[in-house]
Symmetry: C2
Subunit: 246 residues, 2 copies
């Protein structure tokens, strides 16, 4: 049986220490996944390492773990992928958060633009962080998806200027995604920009193209993908092209 | 504004005819999307053609359309992609149905295997068909995803023997997905086999490898993808590799 994995963000862990975990950590470890005294579990804390722990004691509200070993974790993608996603309805945003975490993305940047119907994130960042942490634990990552503050499309031009490659998914474009990606194998950091259900205005595309010299607009093919499908499929394509799905 | 698209499966359509649509077609066209008399709409009927229609009359329960033009539709993928998916919980199966339709898959074959927890499809085929048809209409396809009867893993060996390439997603395999796909560009038909949450038994993998000479087991990378993520991401990777996302 596989050792159960848990994600406890920002909890400093050192071999030999004991920690008493309460509330949601207790709930998830003891109630949801039914770990028992004597079980080995792995806890990741966003440091890039796995910590092998033993459950020493369980009370009505607490679970005490002892840290036995600090392990290398080799599940992080070598490529630094950031997904910039225009706001979409809550359940879709949650789906994107979960799926791009599994696919190995490093960061998610929510933004507003002219055609976003949703104007503020209906998801509390806390909830999105929890979804990302659980997805990280489940897929074996030792880091989680960083979820940035909501920004604006205009501001993306500042945030993304240092990336090696920025891809803007835009239906009306004829650049071949495959050609662009095959010609960018040296890019260590890639950002993708996905619109909301309404897509982008011509002005927004022109603005980003003018401001970001590292930007390529790409079509995702003949079929018009929903926003969340575009985010997941383009992330998968980038990771595939870079050997991260092999 | 874009012309609204609808999918009415198996309705024979000929230029010049009038059709009175009722019930769910009426509901979707008039109530949900608020089409009005005089509006142009496109109806696809799984023939591979789009039919440009005018709404001639709307009553309390009926909408009458007149077919003006039969149009070529070039949104179908050239590659014939079949997704064989072990049964997973209802909402995940619906997600897979919708997403692989958008990505251009031709067929979905649900199956049971040793580790499937769900033993019968909790989704009525009718509901899955509706999800696929709406996804087809939305992404611009003139055909919809064919949803096969539930079968068994053993039976897949018969159903898939004529495919040019069959990919089995299996964590414990070290074949490179990218290498396999890059060496199979002549394959006109590709099937992918995705397990349930529990994955496959060693015996099942051995059985399929023995029975299907066209089968390659492939790993999807370091991170363990959930079943539905694997189905969507592998479909995206195959379509991307074959130029269907460019």
């Amino acid at each position: 049986m596989q050792i159960k994995r848990f994600f406890i963000n920002k909890l400093a862990l050192n071999v030999g220490e004991r920690h008493e975990l309460v509330k949601e950590d207790y709930n998830y470890i003891v109630v949801v996944t039914r770990a028992r005294v004597g079980d080995s579990i792995i806890i990741a804390n966003n440091t890039g390492y796995d910590f092998l722990c033993i459950i020493k004691e369980i009370t009505k509200n607490t679970v005490t773990i002892e840290i036995k070993e600090k392990l290398q974790n080799n599940k992080e993608a070598k490529l630094n992928l950031t997904v910039c996603q225009a706001l979409v309805k809550g359940d879709k945003f949650e789906l994107i958060t979960q799926k791009i975490t599994e696919l190995g993305a490093a960061e998610l940047i929510p933004f507003t633009s002219t055609f976003t119907v949703v104007k503020e994130n209906t998801n509390k960042t806390e909830r999105l962080n929890k979804i990302a942490e659980q997805a990280s634990a489940q897929c074996g990552r030792a880091k989680t998806l960083k979820i940035a503050e909501i920004t604006t499309l205009k501001n993306l031009s500042k945030l993304l200027s240092n990336y090696d490659l920025v891809l803007l998914a835009y239906e009306q474009n004829k650049n071949s995604l495959k050609e662009v990606l095959q010609n960018s194998h040296s890019a260590k950091s890639v950002a993708i920009i996905i619109g909301s259900e309404g897509g982008f205005s011509k002005e927004e595309v022109d603005y980003l193209e003018k401001e970001l010299k590292n930007l390529k607009t790409v079509s995702l093919g003949a079929r018009i993908l929903r926003a969340e499908t575009a985010a997941i499929a383009l992330s998968a394509a980038v990771m595939y092209e870079r050997g991260e799905m092999s």
